[in-house]
């Protein structure tokens, strides 16, 4: 199993054909990928020349070095850098805690939505060989749920947050909901793919013993799928905690809000302190997630 948000799921495909595409697809894909790479770089280089500032030059390297030492680390400044003041550390601590809460809330909502819907997004259970009664309505439901997964997943958290702030007052809740909308699609799709990749034999034997749809679900599908779902959920939490700061830029909660304010007030040593707290909770969440994953095994 691979870490980092979407482990490569080896899906035992529910569809009968094994290799639906000829060897040409790989060749065409490589050519297309190369065209894309070349075209993108030409576009980027052309655009950066239009913008006037040359990003990769000695001049900009000097500016970056100045920003790092002078502004972020506050070496040449007369004032004490914020990250050397205990009081500022204490001021930022509750924001770090809020960020943590936001991430837990976000993944919690996302899991609830994913748990309520993933079964309808699994091809084998809805329309495949495990659905002997598969009618038109089930088919429609399958495509509706899959479509919803695609839409929620395709739009990143930050853009959902742009929309959500029209509805909720600033705080950790709108950020959590923006995180949840995107991640319900991610988790829902992953969970559906887990179900599609399940060993079908236990389900079939339940069916042939006379179990109904619901019984197959509870005694065949869920016991196999849920432990793996929890593992994915914990992996996903590691990604979400990194995004929470970004959602906070817009939804005004936790470290993100303070990062944005400090940036616009040129309080760069505070930015450094926020980044230290940010890295701290990222490492903390990675450790907690690894520990909890061991429990799931």
């Amino acid at each position: 199993m691979i870490g980092v948000d979407a482990p490569v799921v080896r899906v035992r495909d529910a569809r009968p054909e094994v290799t639906p595409y000829g060897p040409g697809i790989v060749r065409y894909s490589i050519v297309l990928a190369m065209i894309l790479v070349v075209a993108s770089w030409i576009f980027i280089i052309f655009q950066s020349q239009n913008q006037g500032t040359s990003f990769l030059s000695i001049d900009s390297a000097a500016r970056a070095w100045n920003f790092l030492t002078n502004d972020l680390l506050g070496i040449d400044q007369s004032r004490t850098p914020a990250f050397l003041k205990g009081s500022v550390w204490r001021d930022i601590a509750p924001l770090a805690y809020d960020t943590l809460l936001m991430s837990v809330l976000g993944i919690g909502f996302a899991s609830l939505v994913a748990l309520a819907t993933f079964i309808f997004g699994a091809r084998n259970v809805m329309t495949g060989d495990l659905a002997p009664y598969g009618g038109v309505i089930w088919r429609l439901l399958f495509w509706a749920v899959r479509g919803l997964f695609i839409i929620t997943r395709a739009v990143p958290e930050l853009i959902w947050a742009f929309l959500i702030v029209f509805i909720f007052s600033p705080g950790i809740l709108p950020g959590a909901i923006a995180l949840a909308i995107h991640n319900s699609g991610v988790l829902g799709k992953l969970a559906s793919e887990i179900v599609e990749g399940l060993d079908p034999r236990p389900m079939r034997s339940l069916q042939s013993a006379g179990a109904g749809r619901v019984q197959v679900l509870f005694y065949g599908v869920l016991p196999q799928a849920l432990p793996r779902f929890i593992t994915f959920l914990l992996y996903r939490w590691e990604v979400i905690i990194r995004t929470t700061i970004v959602v906070g830029f817009v939804a005004s909660g936790g470290l993100g809000q303070e990062f944005r304010l400090s940036m616009s007030h040129f309080h760069y040593t505070t930015v450094t302190l926020i980044l230290i707290w940010y890295l701290g909770i990222v490492v903390l969440v990675d450790l907690i997630s690894a520990g909890l994953r061991r429990l799931a095994r």
Partner: protein
């Protein structure tokens, strides 16, 4: 004796899963309780905004000018993503190979190399791409290269880690047969490990392209172009319909990449 040991182990597994569930639900409950739930949670008129936003999804603006703009901005987004991913590959793949520790011969040196490579990768990926972008832009100035590097660096961290794990997970038996035929570790790597890990590496890179498109779309937040920029502008005009047009462009882009990657994936891993 053996059966008994087995039974005890299953019991603890079930037990620890139960504990895990309790912990997860408790954490969620705690964070739910920490939110202030009162009349101020929603904006006044927040509920009608829900209706307007959702309603606008069914009436996106589809005039020629908006569509043309959508295509241009979609290309900008793709270009940032693809260029960022090339940086990630160039940077992440070699560090990933070092971090996997498969090439090392002497144990001491291998521990040191694996150590620093993993640390660098972990540092790259712990900071979100938008935070990188913001810092680059403040440090150096507004340029598309900032977006490319901002996507490239954290993605190098992620790709490197995943490549390292994939290279380690390759089954050892075929490699041993290469070794017994006299192949050096480099040759074992080139003719054994790499070809065997390649399909999974390829499909993960494709998945990252999809993520890169999303990441490129939000680069607008720090002042760069792309689909996110147009969504932001439309929302500033409270023009939800136009915002949805660009959102649908983004959704279509991601769906296209997803389709492409699943076609390639089904071919190479079949």
């Amino acid at each position: 004796m053996r059966g008994q040991g087995l039974r005890i182990r299953t019991l603890t597994t079930v037990d620890s899963r139960k504990w895990l569930t309790v912990i997860l639900i408790a954490a969620f409950g705690w964070s739910l309780a920490s939110v202030k739930w009162d009349s101020g949670t929603l904006h006044t008129g927040g509920l009608s905004a829900v209706g307007e936003i959702l309603g606008a999804a069914f009436t996106p603006q589809i005039s020629g000018g908006v569509l043309k703009l959508g295509i241009i901005e979609a290309w900008t987004t793709v270009a940032y993503a693809v260029a960022g991913l090339t940086v990630a590959l160039v940077l992440g793949a070699p560090i990933g190979v070092i971090a996997s520790g498969v090439l090392a011969r002497r144990r001491f040196i291998s521990v040191i190399n694996v150590g620093w490579a993993r640390l660098v990768l972990a540092f790259f990926r712990s900071v979100h791409e938008l935070v990188w972008a913001w810092i680059f832009i403040v440090a150096v100035g507004l340029s598309p290269m900032a977006a490319v590097l901002a996507i490239g660096i954290p993605y190098a961290g992620i790709l490197g880690r995943v490549f390292a794990e994939l290279l380690q997970d390759v089954p050892e038996e075929p490699l041993d047969s290469l070794r017994s035929a006299g192949a050096s570790e480099w040759k074992v790597f080139l003719y054994g490990r790499l070809p065997m890990a390649m399909p999974d590496m390829l499909s993960y890179t494709f998945y990252r392209l999809e993520c890169g498109i999303r990441a490129a779309a939000v680069m607008s937040f720090v002042g760069l172009g792309g689909l996110g920029h147009q969504v932001q502008l439309s929302l500033q005009d409270l023009d939800y319909g136009r915002a949805w047009t660009f959102l649908f462009f983004l959704i279509a882009l991601v769906a296209l990449v997803d389709l492409w990657s699943s076609m390639v994936r089904r071919r190479v891993s079949a």
